[in-house]
Structure formats: C-alpha cells, structure tokens
C-alpha cells in the first residue's frame, strides 16, 4: 500500500482491520469500510478499464452509482463471477478478486487501443454506413464486432447464491438517507406514521456526514456533527424501519416500488455462504418522499476522459470519508462553488491544490473567499482546453475564455498535476420521480430539470428537488414534508444555519478549445465513447429528436444509463439546434435506477419453486411403482409404468392390452370437478353445453361439449345429475380452472337471474377409473352391496355407495370403450381405495396405466382429446359430433357462430381416421396430409392429431383433421415425411368395437 495516499485521522475507515484483495492478479490491501474504488485509489491505481469503442484508458471517475469507467469483473469462480460491477459501489471484503474488462491482453497494454487510431473513420453510427459489401459478409463482420463488444463475462455455471422477496406495506417511504431524508423520516415516524427509510449506502447521512467546513454550520455545530446526532435519535423511533445497503430500483404506478437490499455482498468470502445474497422488497407505500439528492456533473472539454480526472465532490468524499488522496498535486476545474469545498478539504488534509480553474468571472461567496485566504490560485474566466498523459493525467492546458464564452483567447498556460477534479454543477436525481410518471420542469438559472406535477402521492425534497444550499435544503425539506404529511407541529423550529451562498452562476455545455472542433475529443458518454462531435454529427444528418440522437450516437445507453451524460447531450443539442432546453424535454428514464440482478428479480422462484407442482392423492403410489410422469398444466400425472427395462412404447403396449383383455386402472383425479346446485341448474347446463339437459334423469350421466362463443370446441366432459337440482360436472385436466371461471363469468354477468351455485370440488375427490372386462368383478369385491347388473347400474349412470363407511360416488362411464367404473372418493381415502382395487384386482392382473395408454385406448374408439385433436379451430360439426348439437335449443354458448359463412362450409377440416398401408408404420403426430405427391408446393389438407400402434388391433391407427374429410372416406392419401411418403387411407374415426359391445361386456 502506498502509505502516503492515506490520511490517518479518519473517522469512517477502520484502519486497524486490514483487508487483502486482488486486482488484475495483484494482491493489494485496503481497510474495512473502503469501497473497491477507494482502496484502488489508495494504492495509486487509477487506470482500471478501457472504453467500449476506442479502448482508451479510463480511470475511476466518481464515488457512486453513476460511475461510467470503473466497471469490473468481480469474482473468478465460474458460478459466482459478476460482470460490470462498479468499483465505487463494492464494499471491500476479505478475498475479493476483481479484474479489468474489455481489454486484451491487459488493461495496461490493450490491443483494442488500435481502434483509437481508426477513430477518425468510425464516428457515431458508422456501422450503418458500411459492412454491406460483399453482400453476404455481414455474418463475418458481425462475428468480430460481437467479439470486441460486450464488457465483462457472463458466469458460465449456475449461481449458488440465494435471493429472496419480501412484501412491505407502509404509510410513508422515504428514499434516501441524506439530510433531507433523515429529517423527513423523523417527522413522519414521530407523527405516528408507519415509516420506512432506505438508503443505498451502508451508513446514513449522505454528503453531510463528511461536511466539516466553517461555511456550513447548524446550531453552531459543523453540519456533520449535527447530522450524527440526528441519526442517533432515529434509532429510538418505534414507527421507523431503516434499511441501509438498500437501493430503490424501480418506482411503478400506484406507489409500488422495488428496492434491492444487499445482504452479503459486503461480507468476507467465507461468511457469504448459505445466506440470502439480495432481497427484493416489494413496497406498497401510501406516500413516498424522494430524497435522493443530486449528482455532480462533469465538464465537457477536449480529452476530459483521462485516468486521474475525477468529479470534484468525489475527490472530496475520497479524502474526507475514506481518507484517500486521489493525487498529490491536484488541480480543480469548475463552473460553480462546490469545487471550493473540495479545495478546502484537500488543503485541510495536507494535499496541495495547484489551482482552481473557474469559467466564471470572479465571485465573492463565503467559500470562495476562504479558498483565496488559503492562498490557492484561481484562474477566473478560464477553461481547460486540453489534458495530457496517456494512462494518467500529467498536465492540463488552461486558456482564458472570451466574453461570450464561445472561444478561448490569450496564451495557453500548462499546469502539471496528477489529478484533475471537475465540477459542472449538480443534476437533481429525478429518475424515480419520472419513472413514476411525474412530469419535469426546467429551471433556466442553473440548468436543472426539477419535479413538477405527478399523479401519485409523492414529493421530492432536498437537492433532488433543486435545493442545493444547506439552509434551503433544511427549511424546504421540513416545510414540504409537513405539508405533504399534513403535520402542523414543526419538529425543526429555530435552527440556526450558516451556509455559503453561491452568487455567480455560469454554464457552458461544450467548452471551447483552441483546436478545430473536429480534432478534439470531448467525451459525453465515457463508457460508450460518444463525444460532443458525435451528437453534432447526428444533428447534421437530420436526427433531431433527442431519442434519435441518443439511439444514433448511443449516448446515455451504457450501463450508467446516461447519469453523467444526459444533461450535456441535451445542452449541446439545444444549443446546436437553437432550441430552449425546457422545450426539448428529456429522454425517458426507465427502471431500474441501477442495474438489478436477475436473481433478485426472480427471488426464490427458481429450481423446485419455479412453478407449483400439483399432486394427486395417489402420487406416492405412482412413485413407489416407478411411474414416469407427464406434466399436464401444473399437475404431475402418471404417464406410464415401465416394468424392468421397458421403454415407453413397450410399457404402453402392455398396459393397453391388459386394460382391454382384463382390467386396467387409471388415476383420473386431475379432472376438473364442479359441484352445481340450484333450481336453474338444468337450464344453466342447457346454456353452456351444446346438448340438452333438462330431461336427463336423476342418477344418469351425460357427455357434454362446451364451445367458445366463436363456435369452436373449448372443453368436454361428463356431467352427472345427482339429484333434481344437483349436478357434478367434470372438465378436462387443463381446462378446469378456466371452465369454472368462464361459467362464473356467465352466471354473474350475463345470467344473474339464474339460481345456480358453482363450487370446485376437484381436490376434494380422488378419482379412480377401472376399466376392462373384469372391472365389474373387481368393483363387486370392493363394494359388495352394490348391484352391478346392466339393468340396475347401466352405462352412463351413477350410484352412491359406501366403502368401509366412507361415502363415495361410482359412475359407470367410459373413456376407453370398455366396461368401466369411476370411483370418486374423498381424497384422504383415495390412495387406500386405490390400493384396495389392486388387492381385489390381483387375480385379474389389474394393470395400472398412465395417460399415454389412456390416449391410445380412447383413440382406438375415436374419442377426441380437446386440445390435441382440436386446436381452437374445430367446431363440433368438424368433429362429426353433430349429434351433440341440440336442434331444439334456442341458444347456447357459441351456437350463433356455427352458422357463419365460413363455419357452415362443408369442406372445412374435419376429423377422420387414417390407416397406413403398412400396418406397422406409425404416423408422426403433426405430420401433414396431402392428396398429391408430385406437386410443389403441395396443398396441405390437414394433419395427424393422434397416432399410435394399437396392440388390440395389431396395426397402426391415427386420427387426423383433413379438409373435406367427411367425404374422403375410403380415399387414398399421402403423408409426406422428410425422406419418404407414407400411403394412408381415410377411414372412420372409430377403429375398435364400432357397435360398442364392449361397454356392456
């Protein structure tokens, strides 16, 4: 460590606890309390990165989130490394490893710097004008452009850290823990408002915390001493929650705000493990007080980007807060009074200040006088016209400004220095205010955009509201807060404040130089390398809107999102175009305020919590019996049950055969179940299904088809009439939630006159479906008292029954064409009944089958699956289901749409069966069906929707939708595959047991 860059009488940095870290492979030391930036500066390291386009050497320029240059790769573990991290925001910790980005082989010797040589021919947006020849070479050009672009490197392995979310509701949220925010939070909390104060730093106090200057006093104390006492009093307020290291990321409508709390980033490497790294607070505040302060502006002059050129107030923070000297011979360049504060701080810490270059005419404010008293030279009405030093500034060139400020006059003075502090005035941080939809106004006097009107319950106070002087900050913050919170008692009466007043104001957006403008490089956006000339070029080429200029030159689009560059870009545009800045407006500030990790946004919704997993009551059984699962919506459904080393095909063939030969059993619990009660229940069903329901006898079941209002098939299922006014509707698994909400919608909005109540009972019942010729025998073993004769318990009917004194409903319905029963029993007992079925079915080789076999079995019977055989473009007529459309009913959902000119066409796509010429050839689902093979392009008549090898028919079968399919029965068609053409014949959709004999077998 370069000892002499660190001052020893510092209150904020614990100089007893030394921390080692690595930068670009070199081991360095800092102290607890340092940021990576302050530690690097203390080690006399300024050069930390290369710029995006020209690869110019760049150094640390700020001390906060607006840092454009010092963005580093932190960490070298492939799962934990983080690109583009601002050195000014990283708190130093033991074990920190950081390296420069965007340079090769090293930041000191970067091959990319050759771009700087080419810079004359690569102005803004040059890439739109070239790389077009030869015609197909863009791919090659692009390869190299991509390689040289980008900054840091993405991790290459999954993140091991944990992220979290927390909702927070409060009366008042105060954003920013500087002097204004502290006072506002205190006022709110003291007046019984549930208050939250957040600040992105590790301590409260803002810049006042290290403002120890005769020119700024409160009640006879230095302002820093006063604020320290204020902070202490906050801790005793019971209505106040304080969150430090918490950065407000986004301010959305309805006072919904997102704040990211850093919990482990500052901890030593070995302390980070198994803790939440970042927590995203989702805050809903009744009122929001923004006290985010202001950012210092740079000055725009030739070669203003060299390492060692640092914002003046940042130099002050480095010396006063971190105890780090940014240089030994520092020059300052300013257009306002704040640089004089820096001069005093430096001088108080024993750093020699060469001079202050001030573009203003001589002024006599309190603080300027103090600097003059210290004997520091001031170059009034002067500007820096150039800087020298490639990897570190070593001198500046100063000239006098002409009276109108557009040119330089007189002799050039060269001044040696190892650091230049620049200050172009202050920009209120209005980002959050505008993110929330607030409108800005422009104050000409000091060229700032200020909060004006807003739709939300929010105010801005302090310097983000345009108050830059201590007395105004205090007085106005208190008054505004009181008014905003409707508080009458003033908690801050009679403060005696001393505050230096800035008298003279002057601003020049682009400072003149003695060189031709085209030969200068005055950077606006340091990271993206866009210069004042680039902006002027864009304007010359007709890009007049600020958004156009921004996009054409990429100004403000770097990782600092234009925090430093925006105002100057606007200023230069306004000046060049001859418009007033207030009329020009600003570009939109978009969230987040500072970049936010994907991890924090996602929280713990990763891995097992990515999405909900729904399980049936028999889920454990399926696992024990080695089922493979299929995702159906959020459900896990048993897909097939391989035995030994069976693959899916083999398992499904076995299961399908067993179900038809003897007995199969399926977990159908996922089907949606809706309990329908009310005196108009039948009428309701008449309106929602295509068929008629009034005459359905009690105890009977009926299949129903539900359409959308556009006439297309939406859902289907069996509904049972349990008693006069009581039905149980089943829906598809995937459609369950949507069907219920659609039905509620109709009931509540279109048919409020109907006396009908719907209650979901999907999860209440476990549903066991037993099918096959032996299903009756099995059921009779489980429920001996139930009479199962076809006469007493015919197909499409239901019975109430008891199994071991537990109520259940048994439906005799079939989705396989086999004799089959569906047992619905309270979920708590479903697994037990399921197991009982196995016991009872053992002698019949009862075989569990999954969804794949279910699909195969129903396809053999030509039953559709909504969503697989239909795709939102199929009417019931297209599905040969004319029989299910009641001709008598006046209306039902979707009826009118069935009679539109396109839906009554007879040659629509219609459901058919397909048999392959080679019975062993299984069609691919999704394959297209054509009538001709020798035409290109060929008309596609339809596609295969379901396809299987049927073990029961010993041949391949398929369902398809084909144009005019109803009339094509018996015709030969073709299914063209990539390498071959498969010959098929159009058939009926029912492949097995056309007479439905098996239902009663």
């Amino acid at each position: 460590m370069t000892r002499n860059l660190r001052i020893t009488n510092n209150k904020f940095i614990d100089q007893t606890s030394r921390i080692s870290f690595k930068f670009d492979g070199k081991t360095l030391y800092g102290f607890k309390g340092d940021t990576l930036a302050s530690a690097l500066l203390a080690n006399n390291i300024h050069l930390v990165g290369r710029s995006f386009k020209y690869h110019r050497p760049r150094g640390i320029m700020t001390c906060g989130s607006e840092e454009p240059n010092a963005i580093l790769q932190v960490g070298n573990d492939p799962s934990m490394t983080e690109p583009n991290t601002r050195a000014t925001e990283i708190e130093l910790y033991e074990g920190l490893v950081a390296s420069s980005q965007n340079c090769w082989p090293s930041v000191n010797f970067d091959m990319g710097a050759v771009n700087n040589f080419f810079s004359p021919i690569i102005p803004a947006a040059f890439y739109y004008k070239t790389f077009m020849w030869p015609t197909n070479f863009w791919k090659l050009y692009e390869y190299f452009i991509r390689k040289s672009a980008g900054l840091g490197k993405s991790p290459t392995e999954p993140d091991k850290d944990i992220y979290d979310h927390r909702y927070l509701h409060c009366d008042v949220l105060v954003v920013g823990g500087g002097i204004s925010g502290i006072m506002a939070a205190k006022i709110a909390a003291k007046n019984n408002l549930n208050t939250v104060l957040i600040d992105d730093k590790n301590v409260l106090g803002g810049t006042t915390l290290f403002q120890q200057n005769e020119c700024f006093k409160i009640n006879n104390s230095y302002s820093n001493e006063w604020i320290k006492k204020e902070i202490e009093t906050l801790n005793s307020l019971k209505n106040l929650t304080i969150k430090t290291r918490t950065s407000l990321a986004a301010y959305h409508n309805y006072n919904y705000l997102l704040a990211r709390e850093n919990l482990t980033d500052h901890l030593d490497l070995n302390e980070k493990k198994d803790k939440i790294r970042q927590r995203l607070w989702k805050i809903r505040a009744k009122k929001v007080i923004i006290a985010t302060g202001a950012m210092e502006r740079p000055l725009i002059f030739n070669n203003n980007d060299r390492p060692g050129i640092i914002l003046s107030y940042s130099i002050k923070k480095y010396i006063d807060y971190y105890g780090v000297k940014c240089g030994q011979k520092i020059s300052l360049f300013t257009n306002n009074d704040s640089a004089y504060e820096t001069a005093i701080s430096l001088s108080n810490s024993g750093v020699s200040v060469n001079s202050v270059v001030d573009i203003r005419d001589k002024t006599n404010s309190l603080i300027v006088n103090q600097v003059e008293k210290l004997g520091i030279k001031i170059h009034w009405k002067s500007t820096v016209v150039n800087t020298n030093g490639y990897k570190k500034i070593n001198s500046i060139e100063i000239m006098k400004l002409s009276d109108d400020g557009t040119a330089v006059v007189g002799k050039k003075i060269k001044e040696e220095c190892d650091c230049l502090g620049i200050s172009g005035g202050w920009t209120p941080r209005v980002h959050l205010f505008t993110q929330a939809g607030g409108k800005l106004k422009f104050r000409d006097e000091d060229n700032v955009f200020l909060p004006d009107t807003t739709e939300l319950d929010q105010i801005s106070i302090g310097s983000c509201n345009g108050d830059f002087e201590l007395d105004n900050v205090i007085k106005n913050s208190v008054n505004l807060t009181n008014k905003f919170l409707k508080i009458n008692n003033n908690n801050y009466e009679n403060l005696e404040i001393i505050s230096s007043k800035e008298i003279e104001k002057k601003n020049i957006w682009l400072l003149p130089s003695n060189k031709h403008l085209g030969k200068t490089k005055s950077f606006l956006d340091f990271q993206n390398d866009s210069t004042a000339n680039d902006v002027k070029l864009a304007l010359r080429e007709g890009f007049k809107s600020i958004e156009h200029v921004k996009r054409y030159t990429t100004t403000g689009m770097a990782t600092d999102q234009g925090k430093l560059s925006n105002m100057h870009a606007l200023g230069i545009i306004a000046e060049t175009a001859g418009v007033k800045m207030g009329e020009l407006g600003t570009t939109t500030f978009r969230p987040p305020y500072t970049p936010l990790t994907f991890g924090a946004i996602v929280g713990r919704n990763v891995g097992e919590f990515f999405d909900i997993i729904r399980k049936t009551p028999m889920h454990e059984w399926h696992i024990e019996n080695k089922a493979e699962f299929e995702n159906v919506g959020q459900w896990k459904r048993a897909w097939y049950y391989p035995i030994d080393n069976e693959n899916m095909y083999e398992a499904v063939q076995r299961e399908s055969k067993a179900a038809r030969d003897s007995a199969g059993i399926l977990d159908a619990s996922t089907l949606g179940k809706i309990d329908i009660q009310g005196s108009d229940a039948s009428e309701f069903l008449n309106r929602v299904y295509t068929n008629a329901w009034s005459k359905l006898e009690i105890g009977k079941c009926r299949y129903g088809l539900m359409l959308n209002e556009d006439g297309m098939v939406y859902d289907d299922g069996v509904t049972t009439r349990l008693s006069e006014n009581h039905y149980l509707m089943t829906t598809t698994t995937g459609g369950a939630a949507n069907v219920l909400s659609k039905l509620e919608d109709y009931l509540q909005t279109e048919w409020p006159e109907l006396d009908v109540y719907l209650t979901s009972v999907t999860d209440h019942y476990g549903t066991i479906s037993i099918c096959g010729p032996n299903s009756k025998k099995i059921l009779s073993k489980i429920i001996p008292d139930l009479i199962l004769s076809d006469k007493d318990f015919p197909h499409m009917s239901f019975k109430n029954a008891l199994i071991d004194n537990i109520n259940c409903r048994v439906m005799r319905i079939s989705f396989t064409g086999e004799h089959s029963y569906e047992i619905n029993i309270q979920s708590s007992y479903a697994k037990s009944v399921w197991e009982k079925c196995f016991e009872a079915g053992k002698e019949f080789n009862i075989t569990p089958y999954g969804t794949e076999t279910m699909h195969l079995l129903r396809a053999e019977k030509g039953f559709i699956i909504a969503g697989q055989d239909t795709d939102g473009t199929m009417t019931p007529v297209d599905l040969h289901m004319d029989w299910i459309i009641s001709k008598k009913k006046y209306d039902f959902i979707g009826k009118r749409s069935l009679y539109r000119s396109d839906t009554i066409r007879e040659d629509r796509k219609q459901l058919v069966g397909l048999l392959t010429e080679d019975p062993n050839e299984i069609l691919e689902e999704g394959a297209q069906v054509v009538a001709e093979t020798n035409k290109q392009p060929v008309e596609m008549l339809g596609h295969v929707t379901s396809s299987y090898f049927s073990p029961n028919l010993n041949k391949s079968i398929a369902l398809a939708v084909v144009k005019n399919g109803k009339k094509l029965k018996g015709q030969k068609m073709f299914v063209p595959m990539k390498n071959k053409i498969i010959n098929v014949t159009v058939t009926d959709t029912v492949f097995l047991d056309k007479e439905n004999k098996r239902l009663n077998a």
Binding site: H252, N253, Y254, N255, Y256, R284, G437, E455, E709, D710, S741, E744, D745, Q748, T749, E750, P752, Y890, D891, K895, R896, S897, Y899, R900, S901
Partner: protein
C-alpha cells in the same frame, strides 16, 4: 402493479385480479336473429379506447366476483369501481 379497490373486499394487489376486457357489451338475447356482421360486432369488435374506458375485472384470487372499473387507459388511473348490474358512477 395496480392497487385495485375490489367493491367487495377492498384494496388489493393487482396480482389477485384478472382483466376481462371492455364492459357493457351485453350478450345478445337473440343471437340467431343477428346478421353475421352484427354477431361479429358483438364477438370481436372493440372500441379499444385511449382514455376513460369501462371494463370488466374479476377478483379471481379473492372473492371471485366480477365487477366493473372505470380506468383511463392513457395513464392507468382507476377512477371508479362498481358492482355488476350497477350503473357507472361516472359518465
């Protein structure tokens, strides 16, 4: 995220609600008597207003009631909510 004042349950986060499009488009009582054009008007055609719009929302993850909302689609400001069947409180 909007903060929506459900007319039954009070202020709740937007995530508890689902949007149901333009309000006061009554389902024709006698659809069969409409021309294809008229039916299409009901089915598909929307005012899609930029400005104050009347629309349907459902407190899907709360009381499951549908209700109407008056919202300015140009700034998302909710002017009023009212129950199904009630007259809009604002013209």
């Amino acid at each position: 995220m909007f903060l929506i004042n459900c007319p039954y349950c009070g202020e709740r986060d937007q995530s508890e609600f689902s949007a149901g499009g333009e309000a006061h488009i009554e389902r024709p009582k006698q659809p069969t008597e409409l021309s294809d054009d008229q039916w299409a008007e009901y089915l598909f055609m929307r005012k899609n207003i930029k400005g104050v719009q009347f629309e349907r929302w459902n407190h899907a993850h709360g009381c499951r009631k549908w209700f109407n909302m008056v919202r300015d689609t140009s700034n998302d400001k909710i002017h009023a909510v009212y129950k199904m069947g009630e007259k809009p409180p604002i013209k």
